[in-house]
Amino acid sequence: MTVSRFYSPQSIAEATAILRQQSGCQVLAGGTDLLVQMRNGVKQPEYIVDIKEIPGIRDVTLTNQGLTLGAAAPAQSVTERPDIAAAYPGLVEAIDMIGSTQIQGRCSVGGNLCNASPAADTVPALIAVGAVCHVVGGEGVRQVRVEDFNTGPGENCLKRDELLISLFIPRPGVGSADAYLRFTPRTEMDIAVVGAGVSLSLDPMGTVSAARVAIGAAAPTALLVEEAAAAIIGTTLEESALAALAAAAGAAASPISDKRGSAGYRTKVVGVMARRAAQIACDRAQQRQRRAH
């Protein structure tokens, strides 16, 4: 089957109307996953709806409240902003990990999320920083937490006529910071074997007062692991806390064995990534505290 029509709607309403009227539509943002999937036959859409011309959908805005990422904003438009990297270092590292420089010029965080790969780098990082999706459809607007957005490999919660418009990430406090790490055999150009995103807050005494830990490529979707967060809340990330965190991350994992890694390896290494990410997030939070004083 070949694509019979290409739409380039100029407004959200026009886009959702097309999605509502036609079945067989596929939304196109950066296209860096979609074109590969069309090439290998995984997706065979009849209509393509390019959302990039919708006003505002490629905007990236940082305010005191937080960061708003337009769903089709190219990754590079985020990673080239030092102010965003300073506020959300872990998230920006995760965004920077999607593909090559060439991919970065096209791919979007929204697309990475909607594609719903269990191994998507930005998803655990987004979950860790508490990102919320702004979804618009024929029946109106709704907010979905990122951890609830994907429902399975390649599947998300969007209804046929719904569109992810933007993501909002609240601004971290003074004693808070995030980090994301993934494991790949190469330095670049690989899909995560496992990934872990951590955000945490330190109280003035240096004790972890809040934390969110998310893991990727370790289950059908990226997971928020509350037990892992609980393992470090109230601690100063001493060895036993980190070990408990790693164990909790591993326990939450239910990975598959495939060409990129066995379930056993993934389970083991997801804990390693989680504890290392927690340590980095903690170091960053301490730095912020010092700078604030």
Binding site: F183, P185, R186, T187, M189, K259, V269, V272
Partner: protein
């Protein structure tokens, strides 16, 4: 000018800008897929979805009925060639197998095996037409692993294949195509003299050459049967000859024009598409273009042989080797012809040892027919011997380079493969490695170092060259080997040297099969050696002719005329430059031109040494290369920049094969990683700078001392990396690639 030993070269050894460089940095150079002809059709190949199956029927009618489809074929259109090895000028080839690999007859032998092809007015229509072809298969049990393929109860690929080389004639068909054995001395006595014996078994995965340019060609067949081919390959004469065999048409009716080649490394030394495109062009009366997808490249071309290498070596306490016994089992893919015996002959070549034996087994599996990959068979074989030598050095507490120096071959020693070495640079290369600062860099915790030696024979074979001197003194140097990595630059340098003229006056060209004499493949590192030699000989004929013409103009005896700095010189006369003589060509006997051809003997063996330092992440098993040094005796570096480039590129390919590259098959025998995402070749950020050291021990068998460069660089990295990792973690990993998962498992089991 021929004084290789004293190194008195004028332009050879300089880092000149390559003559074809501008076209390549501006995008003007035409590679295989860049050719188009008016009225051209696009063709696509239908490939087997099964690893092993009998084809019960193929129905092309629905495809042929589609608008825009002009021709569709199966293997029926090709003559059924007689089985048996034939000397093709490129080594032995079984053209029955080659033809069946181009398009399956009766059975498909691997997932991706070509079954039928369609030519249509667009790629899109051709693809849609493939979907309309109906093929019925009877699926057969398959085997993709060489270890399993050798078992008595394994599915047999070829019912007519009986192992060749057994003491007793084989009673039943087998996947072992041949067994060959070479031995010297008394193994049992040698092992009895040993104070230490180390025995290990190594596994090497299938790897792909990984050239970035997919195979591509355009073919046009005229009404009179003339076949014109534009193709990217490692030898357009090979393309002509092989296509002629598969089609059953005379060599003389095929002309092949070489496209620029976007990498080959041995993988473009056979034909896949050209006979198919020709058959489709003949049927449609239109030119036909074919370009493989990356997935097709991975599934159906190349790859390099997987291997099992069993090694047992004995040594005395002082490090002297007393016995070496090995078995090299290499995967040929679907049709016989793995480089097992070649690899087996390479791995002992660096060493003296009185008692030794190799057994080489050539095994077929339900995977794509393998092709050469740089020094074919040698990296796999070296892995075993070099790693075991390192283990012996560790056990005896001898420096691994000292151990090798103690046993290294030198001039006058008889090589394991039979010949007596003339001047070779192995010891010099080992000494340079030992003296290199990288060998003395202190290692931190979690780091390890490995050293290994690699060997390749280097090839000579047939080459031709023509030189035309134009009015004004520019010189066209015409050869017939595709320029895969800068060989035009070395042809120009050698011609300039031999003629004594400025390099800028030389214009190297690679001519089609009608416009220059025959040339064997670009392969085995023979081009600079043999084609360069033909260029030197042609240049010397030009010099000779110039001296005669000058003598005639001056009315002196030719013996009084010499040639210096690009001019004829004679006492009492102003020198006549090449340009001046070219201007007077009409009155001195006509155009100034000369051709030379040869079947070059005297290729000089090449030795390389790799030094590698790694660090290992003990929590994840990930290996980082922190330092890599490639040292090699190249004879004479004609263009040092491109020599280093070969060494660096080969090193990185070896690193990739050692750490991450492998074919992964599913339970149905389907390749699971036919793309660059999951077939993990090294990317720029994976690597440090590769330090290179060029050793020049001139090859006495070549006028300029050239040996050949491209093969040894891939031989030593795998054992160097493997040893470095084993040293870093204190383990004895023997299965490649050394994926993080394998390394972590080894760490966990310590």
């Amino acid at each position: 000018m021929r004084d290789a030993v004293t190194n008195r070269f004028k332009v050879i050894g300089t880092r000149s800008v390559r003559p074809d460089g501008i076209e390549k940095v501006t995008g003007q150079a035409n590679y295989g897929a860049d050719y188009s002809l008016p009225g051209m059709l696009w063709a696509k190949v239908l490939r087997s979805p099964h690893a092993h199956a009998r084809i019960t029927s193929i129905d092309l009618s629905a495809a042929l009925a589609m608008p825009g489809v002009h021709a569709a074929i199966t293997s029926d259109v090709f003559p059924d060639l007689k089985a048996g090895m034939e000397d093709s000028g490129e080594g032995e080839v079984d053209f029955h197998d080659l033809s069946c690999n181009v398009m399956a007859r009766d059975k498909v032998l691997y997932h991706g095996h070509a079954v039928a092809a369609v030519a249509a007015t667009s790629e899109r229509i051709a693809e849609q037409a493939l979907a309309a072809i109906k093929v019925d298969y009877e699926v057969l049990p398959h085997v993709v692993d060489i270890g399993v393929a050798m078992a008595a109860d394994a599915p047999v690929l070829h019912q007519d294949m009986f192992t060749v080389g057994l003491a007793e004639p084989a009673a039943a068909p087998s996947n072992i195509a041949s067994r060959s054995e070479i031995s010297q001395g008394d193994l049992a006595a040698g092992f009895a003299q040993a104070d230490i014996i180390v025995e290990r078994s190594y596994r090497i995965p299938t790897a792909h050459q990984g050239y970035i340019e997919p195979h591509a060609c355009v073919v046009s067949v005229n009404q009179d049967g003339q076949v014109d081919i534009w193709a990217s390959s490692q030898g357009h004469f090979m393309v002509r000859d092989y296509t002629s065999k598969v089609l059953g048409v005379a060599v003389g009716s095929i002309k092949v024009t070489p496209a620029e080649i976007g990498g080959g490394f041995g993988g473009k030394t056979t034909v896949y598409l050209e006979p198919v495109a020709a058959a489709l062009s003949a049927r449609s009366g239109r030119p036909v273009k074919m370009v493989m997808t990356r997935e097709e490249v991975f599934r159906a071309t190349g790859p390099a042989a997987a291997g099992i290498v069993n090694v047992r070596i004995g040594a005395r306490d002082d490090g002297k080797l007393t016995a070496m016994d090995s078995e090299v089992i290499l995967d040929a893919g679907a049709y016989k012809g793995s480089p097992a015996a070649t690899g087996a002959r390479c791995m002992y070549a660096p060493y003296n040892c009185d008692n030794r034996r190799t057994v080489a087994l050539d095994v077929v599996t339900n995977t794509a027919k393998t092709a050469a990959y740089r020094a074919p068979g040698a990296p796999q074989a070296h892995l075993g011997v070099e790693c075991v030598l390192n283990e012996i050095a560790d056990s005896l507490d001898i420096d691994p380079i000292d151990l090798r120096l103690l046993n290294a071959v030198d001039e006058g020693d008889r090589a394991f493969f039979g010949a007596k070495y003339r001047a070779i640079g192995l010891k010099q290369t080992l000494e340079a490695a030992k003296a290199h600062p990288n060998y003395h860099r202190p290692l931190a915790n979690g780091q390890g170092r490995g050293v290994a030696v690699g060997f390749w024979f280097n090839f000579g074979l047939q080459s031709s060259a023509t030189i035309n001197v134009h009015e004004g003194g520019t010189v066209a140097v015409i050869t017939g080997n595709p320029d895969i990595g800068g060989s035009r630059a070395s042809m120009a340098l050698m011609a300039a040297e031999a003629l004594g003229v400025p390099l800028e006056t030389i214009k190297p060209h690679i001519a089609d099969t009608e416009s220059v004499g025959y040339n064997d493949l670009t392969g085995g590192s023979r081009t600079t050696f043999a084609s360069g030699w033909a260029v030197i000989n042609a240049a010397e004929k030009i010099v000779e002719s110039c001296r005669q013409r000058a003598a005639a103009l001056w009315e002196v005896d030719v013996e009084t005329v010499s040639w210096a700095d690009g001019a004829a010189v004679c006492a009492g006369h102003d020198p006549l430059t090449l340009a001046q003589l070219a201007a007077k060509a009409d009155v001195t006997g006509g155009p100034l031109t000369a051709s030379a051809s040869l079947n070059a003997k005297g290729a000089g063996p090449g030795f390389a040494v790799s030094l590698c330092d790694v660090s290992v992440d003990r929590d994840t098993g990930k290996v980082d290369i922190i330092s890599f040094t490639a040292l090699q005796d190249v004879g004479k570096a004609i263009h040092p920049g491109y020599v280093e480039g070969q060494m660096e590129g080969g090193a990185v390919q070896g690193i990739g094969w050692a750490l991450n590259e492998e074919y992964i098959f599913d339970s149905q025998g389907r390749l699971e990683n036919p793309g660059f995402l999951d077939y993990r070749m090294p990317v720029a950020s994976d690597l440090p700078m590769i330090d290179t050291v060029i050793i020049e021990c001139p090859n006495p068998g070549h006028p300029y001392g050239v040996r050949g460069v491209g093969e040894p660089p891939i031989c030593a990295p795998m054992p160097a990396v493997t040893t470095a990792v084993n040293h870093a973690i204190g383990a004895h990993l023997t299965t490649l690639p050394l994926t993080p998962e394998r390394v972590l498992a080894a760490l966990d089991s310590l």
